[in-house]
Subunit: 304 residues, 4 copies
C-alpha cells in the first residue's frame, strides 16, 4: 500500500469506532465540535502531500503550539533554555502545581502548561510584539497566510483559565517569570487558540523529520543537534500523562492538543497529523491516536 | 571511522575526565570498585564484536537485570503484564513509595524497583526454581556458562535492603504481590547481583536491536511487536530520573545499573555497552554516559 | 444530673443510633465483633467509678496502647524523645509513607503508626523483656492483673500487617530504628493486641487528668510538665485524621483505637472511656465519638 | 506574683535574648522593623488591663486578622462555614497548593491562606462594602476608632503577593470561590494590613475567653458553642506548621501573624498578646513565643 491507500484505509477503520470519547468541555468553541469529524494528512520530506477526510479543515491546535514556541526559544537561547525548564517527563497526573512546589518553580518540561508559560516568558523578552512574531513564524512554516488566532477561543480561555493564572502567578512567586504574569498569559492564551489544519501541521513540522531543515518552506529552523533533542523531548514528554502509552503503541515523537489534534514525526521521512475532537481521559483524541497507531502498523515504521 | 576506531577514541577521551562521580556505597562490594576502570563493547546484528578497555571484566549489572526479567514476563504474559505494572515514566525523585501510595500499589513502570518486584512476582509463579531459570536464560542469551550470581553481593543487598523490603511489603499490602515478600525479595536481590561483562551484555541484548531475534544465540526471544514495545519503555523509563536527559543526549533506548553499567540499543544495527563504577547523583555511571553520548556523536546514529 | 445519670442517658441515646459504621475488617478477631455492643466508664480523680453497658468487657485497645508506650518513653528520655519523633499533627490521609519520605524518616508524631514504631524502638533498648515490662506497667496503672495480650490478635496483625512491616523497614532505611525491624514489630503487634475494658482504661489514664499522679495506683507516672505536654499532643494528634473534628466537637485530649475504644481526659477532673466496635471512615468508633460529644454537652465541660 | 509583676519579669527576660530571628522581608514595611521592639498586654474578663513595653504601639497584625473574618463568617453562616473549609490541621510545610490539589480546592482549615481566602469570599457576598464592615467590626471589638488599614502595606502585599494570587485563582478553578479572585484578594490584602496594638488585640479577643460575650465592648460576638469551637480550631491550627510545638509549650488556643504578633486565650480568664518583629523559620515571633511560654509557666495556667 502507498501512503494514500494507507490513510484511506485508516479513515474507513476509525470511522467504524463507536467509542469516540468526549470533546473538551471547558470552553464553548471546543465543546460544540462534532465528534464525527476526522482528518489526516501526511507530508514527506520529498514534498508530497497525502490527505484524507477533513485534513484541510482548521481546528484549535491548543498544546501543539508549544512545539512552535519551544522551537523559537531554542533558536534564541539554545542550551540556555534548560536553565529555567527541565527536560524530564512529568510522570504524574498530580502534576502542575504539586511538582512546581516541590521543585521550586522549575517546570519538569516545556510541554506541561507551567513549562510553556516559562518558555513564553523567555521569548517575550526578545520581541516587540510576540503575538505577531509567533504568527509570522507559523505562517512561514506552513506557507499559509490564512493561519490566525481564534480571538473567541483566546477570550474564552482567558475567562475560564483560572488554573493557568494560578500557575503563572505561582511560577512568578518563585522568581521564574521575568515578565508580568498577565503579559505572559495573554500570549499563552493566544498561542493555544491558533487555528490550523492537519495539512498545515504536517507541512509546518517537516523540519523535525529532516534534521531541522524545512524542505517545505526552505528554511533551517533548528540545527540537527537541536532537532534530535526536540524530538527526544517530544517522545518522552509530548503526550501529557500518556507518554509511555503513546511511545508503546506508536513509537514516534509526537505532540497532542485538547482540540483533538496529534502530530507525529518519522525522522528521515515524514510528518503525519490526525484530528478528531473526541478525547480520552488523558486529553488525547481517541480517533487520532488510533489513526497514528494504525499508520505505524501499516507502514511498519517505528523508531525502534 | 569504523566502530573499533570510534570506541578506541572514546576510551581515550573518557580516560581524561577528572570528574568521575562516586561508586555506589551502600554495599562493600560496590563501594570498593576502582573509579579508573572503564570498558566498552559493541555487538552488531551481523555478528561482529568490538571491545575496548575492560570490556571483558565482569561487574555487578544491578538494575540492568530488570530487562531480562521483564523479557521473561513478556514471553509468559504478553500484554497481561500491564494489568499489574504501568508503562509511564515515573517522573519524580519522590518516586517509589509516594507514587505507590497515590496509585494503590501499581508501580509506574517495570524499571522502578517497585515495578521489578511485581515483575519478579509474576514469573515466580511459573517457575520451580526461578533463580536457576533466570540464570539459564541469561547464560543462553550470552552463550556464556560462567555468568553467575555474586552471592556476597546478594547477601549484602539483603542485609542492607530495608527500603526494598519496605517496597515489597507495601505492594503486598495493596494486594499486588501473589507470593510472600521474602520469596520475591530473594530472587530480586539475586538478579541484581548477576555478574556480566560489557561484551556479555551487548551480545545478550542484540535481540532488542533485531526485532526480537537474537542472531547471537539464534533464538526468537520476543516477537517484533513486543521488542518495539520493550524498546519504547527503555527509552521513556530506563534511566531512573535521568530518562529525559539520556534521551536528550543519547537518543537511544537504554538501561543503567548502579554497578556502573549502561546498555543501549540501536534498532536494526547493534547493542552497545559501557561500564565504569563512578556514578552521578542520578545513579548513572559518569563515564559510561559520556561514552554513549560520544558514540552517538561519532557514529551520527540516533533514533530521531 | 450526676455522672451516673449522664452516662445512663447517653447509653439510651446512642443505642437508638441506626448508623453504626463497620467493624475493622482486616483481622477476624475484630471483624466478628457485634456492632450492638456499647460501654462507657468514668473515673474521677477523687476515686469514683461510674459505668454503663459493657464497661467491664475487655476489647482490643489497639492504638490506645500508644499512650502507654509514649508515657514509658517520656519517663526514660523526657525531651530527648523529640529528637526522633515530631509532635506536629500529621494532617493528611496521605500520611505514613509519603510523609516519611519527604521528611527523611522522622514521623510527624508518636500516634501515627510510624511514630509508635520509633517510640517502641526507643524503649526496647532499655528493657530485657519489653513485652513483660509493658504488661506490668499497664496492669499496675489499672490495678488489674488479668490484663493480657490477645495472642490470636497479635498473630493476625503480624500475618496481615504488611504495611506496618513496610513502615518499620522504611524507617530503618533512614536510620531511625536502632533495633531490627522484626523485633520492634513483635512488640508493636503485641501492644496493639492488649485487651482492656472501659473501666480499666479510665482508671489507667487518670494520671493524665491529675498532673501525672495516679490517684488510682498511687504513683507519679509523669511529672506535671510532661503530663501537660502529653495532653497537648493528644489534643492535636490523638484521633488519626479526625483530630480537628474531635477537638471541635469534644474539645478534650483523647485517643482512639480501631478496636472501637476512645479515651478522653478532663484535666483536673476525670478520665472517660467509651467503646463500641462500629467505625467511621476515619477509623474512629461512631458510638464512642457520639457518647463523648454528648458527655461534654451534658456536663458542660470543655478545656476551652 | 500578680499579672503586672509577671509581665514585667517576662519583658526583662526576653530582652536578654540574643537570638531574635529575622523580620519578615517580603515587603519593606515589615522588613524595616526594629528587632528590639517588644510589647505585651493582658486583658481579663473582669476588665483589667496590664501592659508592658510597647504594648500600645500598633503593628501589622497580618494573619491574626483571620480570626476576625472567621468570627464574622461564623456569625453569618454558623456550621455551614464547614461546607467550604475544613477544620483539620494542615500538618505540612508543603501545604497550600499541594494540599488543595489533592483535596479538590477545599482548604484544610480557615487559618491557612487558602482557607482565609474562602472565608473572605463567603462574607463578601453579604456585604456592600466588606472593607468598611470589617473595620467597624474590629474597631467595635477594641473600642478604638483609630484602628485602620495600612494602605502602604496593603499595596505592597498586592504587588508582591503572587502566591496568594495563585491560591485564589487555583481555588476558583475548583469552583470554591463565588466572587472574582481580584475582589477577594483586595479584601484579603487589606485585612492583613490592619494596624493594632497588643492592648487592642487583648481587648478585642476577650470574647473568646468568655463564652463569646465581650465584657469589653458588651456584645455577644459568638454563642458559647461557636466560641468553644473557634478556640479548638485555634489550638489545632492557629500557628502555621508549629501548632503542635505551641500546644506543647504554651498549651493555649492562639493565633500568630508574620508582623510578629501572637494572641492567646485562657478560657474563663483572659486574653494575652505579645509582639516583637523577629520571626523563626515557622514565621512566628521568637520573643512573643517565649513571652507566652513564660506567661503560662509563671501563672501555672494551661488548658491541660
Amino acid at each position: 500500500m502507498n501512503y494514500q491507500e494507507i490513510i484511506d484505509r485508516i479513515e474507513q477503520e476509525v470511522q467504524q469506532e463507536t467509542h469516540r470519547g468526549k470533546a473538551a468541555n471547558y470552553i464553548p468553541a471546543l465543546a460544540l465540535q462534532d465528534l464525527g469529524k476526522f482528518g489526516m494528512a501526511v507530508h514527506t520530506i520529498d514534498g508530497q502531500d497525502f490527505v484524507v477526510g477533513r485534513a484541510e479543515e482548521s481546528f484549535s491546535i491548543q498544546s501543539i503550539a508549544k512545539v512552535f514556541t519551544l522551537s523559537m526559544a531554542m533558536q534564541q537561547f539554545d542550551e540556555l533554555v534548560w536553565k529555567r525548564v527541565g527536560k524530564e517527563p512529568s510522570g504524574t497526573r498530580f502534576n502542575s502545581l504539586v511538582q512546581l512546589e516541590y521543585e521550586s518553580g522549575i517546570p519538569r518540561n516545556p510541554f506541561m502548561n507551567a513549562g510553556a508559560l516559562v518558555i513564553t516568558d523567555m521569548i517575550l523578552k526578545n520581541s516587540e510584539n510576540l503575538k505577531n512574531d509567533l504568527l509570522s513564524f507559523v505562517r512561514g512554516l506552513s506557507d499559509n497566510q490564512y493561519i490566525a488566532y481564534n480571538e473567541e477561543v483566546a477570550r474564552s480561555e482567558k475567562e475560564t483559565g483560572y488554573r493557568n493564572v494560578a500557575l503563572a502567578n505561582f511560577i512568578k512567586s518563585f522568581g521564574n517569570l521575568n515578565n508580568k504574569p498577565e503579559d505572559v498569559l495573554d500570549v499563552y492564551f493566544h498561542q493555544c487558540s491558533l487555528q490550523m489544519s492537519c495539512l498545515d501541521l504536517s507541512r509546518a513540522f517537516i523540519y523535525l523529520a529532516n534534521r531541522g531543515f524545512s524542505t517545505f518552506c526552505h528554511k533551517q529552523v533548528l540545527n540537527p543537534r537541536q532537532t534530535k533533542r526536540l524530538n527526544s523531548i517530544l517522545l518522552t514528554s509530548g503526550l501529557y500523562d500518556a507518554v509511555g502509552d503513546f511511545a508503546y503503541r506508536v513509537g514516534l515523537p509526537g505532540k497532542s492538543g485538547v482540540g483533538g489534534g496529534i502530530v507525529a514525526i518519522i525522522p528521515g521521512q515524514l510528518a503525519v497529523s490526525a484530528w478528531s475532537p473526541g478525547l480520552n481521559e488523558s486529553g488525547n483524541s481517541v480517533l487520532a491516536l488510533k489513526a497514528l497507531e494504525l499508520f505505524t502498523t501499516y507502514t511498519g515504521i517505528s523508531v525502534f
